[in-house]
Symmetry: none
């Protein structure tokens, strides 16, 4: 599985082109589709990004839930219907549509934020705020990464 680490800020030019950080490209290098899948976050003013293979896995996961539950239907609609598949160009760049740029306010710079299995793309200033928030929550509520065998699902919303 590709692992996205660290944060990189790159320029978005007037055509919407932006370089995917080389470390992220390296994480994608063994993928069959050379590019990323993006869609608008449901929780923040940012974009969510994945390797294409991870989207396939996501599909399988959703399949494990109740196929006709409205929750899952909403989620699937929000994710798959929204998702765009962006190939890397010869120089390692992707092109963000005006809609994506506008949604995440990426008029000038885009911060690629590695979150392990996925990544996000933020307006750098908005990211700063988000980071402070996340750190606060983690230390206040004592969140830790659970051990592997007691996988949890559910508790969301």
């Amino acid at each position: 599985m590709p692992l996205f680490l660290s944060t990189h800020i790159n320029k978005v030019d007037k055509k919407g082109r932006v370089s995917v950080p080389s470390g992220f490209r390296a994480a994608l290098s063994d993928q069959s589709f050379q590019g990323v899948v993006l869609f608008r976050s449901n929780n923040f003013a940012c974009l969510e990004g994945f390797a294409y293979s991870y989207m396939e896995e996501l599909g399988e996961r959703l399949d494990n839930f109740d196929l006709f539950s409205s929750e899952q239907d909403d989620l699937a609609t929000a994710i798959f219907a929204e998702a765009v598949q962006l190939p890397l160009d010869g120089d390692g760049r992707i092109i963000l549509s005006p809609e994506l740029v506008e949604f995440a306010a990426l008029n000038d710079k885009a911060a690629f934020v590695g979150l392990g299995p996925k990544f996000q793309i933020w307006n750098p200033q908005a990211l700063d705020k988000r980071r402070i928030e996340a750190r606060k929550t983690v230390s206040k509520s004592g969140l830790t990464v659970p051990k592997n065998n007691k996988a949890k699902a559910g508790a969301h919303d």
Copy 2:
């Protein structure tokens, strides 16, 4: 699992380069990624270091959360977004970014402190203080090393 032992102080040159102690490199020698992952400590003015494989494991564990749960997002933002992956150069050195140098005040020397599965990187003076502090706390509160019964598999020696 690589095991980091002992304390070594090395020079940080003006480009941020610093030799990883040879003992640490030996501990990493059987790893697929020849390098380390660093991030800012949440508790001290020092850097925390791991083998890349440890991050992979964290990534898998994190994958057990709901993909868009706020817990997953907060944790990933606090951990993966902050982490940097640093390869060893041909001479066994890593390059610390200005941000990392500044955070841990590593302008001149860096003390690599082995803590078993992980290690820390300290400003040597700050480390001295920290050690005195730790000793004081231990003797004052009568802290002892707990018995072995909650040891996880694999952690002998």
